[in-house]
Amino acid sequence: VTGWETVLGTSTIHNVDEIRPPIVEVTGAVTGRYELLEQADDGTIVLGPDTSAEAIMRRHNSRPATDEEFEAAFGDLPTGDA
């Protein structure tokens, strides 16, 4: 999907990375970052919400814990097959 760009109605979709499924940024009638779930030969595309950790943190107005915070919180826990 390198360089991929599609115009849908009044929305322009720009590819912003190449990890599958790709993340696309939509501007226009619909705005935001989405996952490209399907892309058919006839041009039909299916978008879903961005479920990356970065997007989740943004929606929660949060940041990942630091290594020090993680060790203080879970340093006592066993590691292994959950």
Binding site: A53, S62, R63, P64, A65, A72
Partner: protein, 133 residues
């Protein structure tokens, strides 16, 4: 247990990720997952003792820094060790303090012949996006 460890960890569920994982799951898995989420909400979170750390990196290249994992118990089998389902949660901080952010739900060890990613692979992909995007 230090001051950084509450007996029950607050959990926030991102419904976009939650819905995506449940859409990919079987009907039985969805039922287990919804019951577990309801139980977490009623309890106000997940007990510290039910959590486990993730390995630094497994043979498949899955790397889940900052994450813990938990088995999703089968309501018909009280021993959670028998459950094929699990969840991965990311330790995060919001305006009120540390909490666990739901990151992924799914099979812990899916049939290698199938094409379903494990819950750890799902979580890994979501974490990598954070690093690469």
């Amino acid at each position: 247990m230090s001051r950084a460890q509450p007996p029950v960890w607050r959990v926030r569920f991102d419904l976009s990720a939650w819905d995506a994982d449940l859409r990919a799951a079987s009907a039985a898995a969805r039922q287990h997952a919804e019951r577990w989420r309801l139980r977490v909400q009623i309890a106000g979170g997940i007990p510290h003792a039910e959590l486990k750390r993730t390995r630094a990196e497994d043979d498949g290249g899955v790397n889940l820094p900052g994450c813990v994992k938990i088995r999703i118990p089968d309501p018909f089998d009280e021993d959670p060790r028998n459950s094929p389902w699990g969840a991965v949660l990311l330790l995060a901080r919001d305006e009120t303090g540390l909490y666990l952010a739901f990151l992924a739900f799914g099979l812990r060890h899916p049939d290698p012949a199938g094409r379903l990613p494990s819950v750890y692979q799902r979580a890994h992909r979501r974490l990598q996006r954070r690093a690469d995007s």
